[in-house]
Amino acid sequence: MRQEADARVRDNEKRLQRSEAELRNALIAAQQLAAIVESSDDAIASKDLNGIVTSWNRSAERLFGYTAAEIIGKPITTIIPPELYVDEDMILGKIRKGEKIDHFETVRVTKSGERVDVSLSISPVRDEQGRIIGAAKVVRDITENKKIERALRTTEKLAAAGRLAATVAHEINNPLEAVHNLVFLARRDVTNSEKVAQYLEMAQRELDRVSHIARQTLGFYRDTSAPTKISLVKTLEDLLFLYEKRLEVRGIRVTRQYKDEGEIMALAGEVRQALSNLISNAIDAMPTGGSLCVRVSKSHTWGDHKPGVRVTVLDTGSGIPAQAQKKLFEPFFTTKADVGTGLGLWITKNIVEKHGGNIRFVSGTGLQHGTAFSIFLPSSGPSEAVEEKGRAEDFRRAKAG
């Protein structure tokens, strides 16, 4: 009996020792973990499922200005800007479902009211039974990254402005040179009225070019007037007249395939700019000559058969390399490093879509090289709804920028 009792005591002692060792190890592990959390460069905090802060490391104190004592027990919304409270609902919703959130970029507010750009990674915290009881979040300060990003965007815009200035200089200086010479000649031959008339007519054409270029490149053309009935054939003819010199100099042959007058309701100035960009790109693609074909025909939308007009501009230029095709409609993307602003096709696409139309292209750089841009514009012109959408998008873009 006594021996049995002794054995049981020894067993219990051993078990106790084991439990003690386990506890000690767990404690050490917990302390190590706490030390890691405490010394981490990232802010680490945890909260329960009601969004109440339950832990707060030293980096969190540094980043947000609240000490652990100040914020533990307070709602996490203390550091969330009011307009982003919905963020928190979304986060808690995901955590309750046991989902993780990785690198969610958002904004938080420090104790002094300063806003910081942060990237959040949040994981659910479970108890021994595996029930979700809260969330642990790692907050990384990305203010510096954001600053660099913004600086880059500004640099890009400045570079774009520089390229724009170069384009304008290039396009305007030549006609101005011609006008200088023509005025000089008109004064020299002042007694020969026939010659003077000829010089003046030529000077007039050159000034038309300057005016057109100024409108086209400096205006970013936005006419506020209401849609009017326009003929796309007439618009194209006006443009071909204005680009006559550039076409002539490069030895580009122009073919016209007008199967319809192309009458639509549209914002005249904007459609003119959209087409002008396509023709100008086609000319730039053929520095040593080629052929340019403009085509106008009746068409309709695929789905609801809305009537409209399709304009196609084809060139036999160098073609657009495959890797450039993907980025073609992005702002500031250009294949013409010296003269391109990278805005032409982006503007064109915006204008076409604002009118409820669409733009497509095919391009090849092989043996049959060349590019065809095709835009469809509905006869009805930009509807109120489309315009509203356009405006909302402009607003969003302005806010984002």
Binding site: A166, A169, H170, I172, N173, N174, L176, E177, A178, V179, H180, N181, L182, F184, L185, R188, M202, E206, K245, E248, V249, R250, P287, T288, D338
Partner: protein, 134 residues
């Protein structure tokens, strides 16, 4: 003075040649570099006035070829494009020094520049106002 004018915009080349001829020079207009070079060999011009950025052969290549054929020929480049600065400095690095005018050039100023150097003695650079030089 025998002068060759090259500009890919014929209206500029033609009007400039017309102006120079009116001043008693013997000027010919071209819209491409190659035929201008071919003529230079025969004509032995005293002056070449050429645009810089042109499709096919640019003004610098044209000027270099003509300088090789006619070493005494004075060369004035005139350009309205920013790219020209790179082209001109590249030529300078290769040992070619050309006078450069920025478009638009008032023809009176161009004539002045031409005549001034004629009086000062051929070969020396025209004295241009700073805003006319790149």
């Amino acid at each position: 003075m025998k002068i060759i004018v090259v500009d890919d915009e014929p209206i500029i080349a033609d009007t400039l040649a017309n102006i120079l001829n009116g001043e008693g020079h013997n000027a010919l207009a071209f819209s491409r570099g190659e035929p201008a070079i071919r003529l230079a060999e025969v004509m032995q011009p005293d002056l070449l006035v050429t645009d810089v950025v042109m499709p096919e052969m640019d003004g610098i290549e044209t000027a270099k070829a003509i300088r090789k054929l006619v070493p005494g020929c004075r060369i004035i480049l005139f350009s309205g494009q920013a790219q020209s600065i790179d082209l001109v400095s590249k030529a300078r690095a290769e040992g070619y020094f050309f006078e450069v005018l920025a478009k638009p050039v008032n023809p009176e100023l161009l004539l002045e520049a031409i005549n001034r150097t004629q009086k000062d003695g051929a070969g020396s650079a025209a004295r241009l106002t700073p805003d006319q030089q790149f």
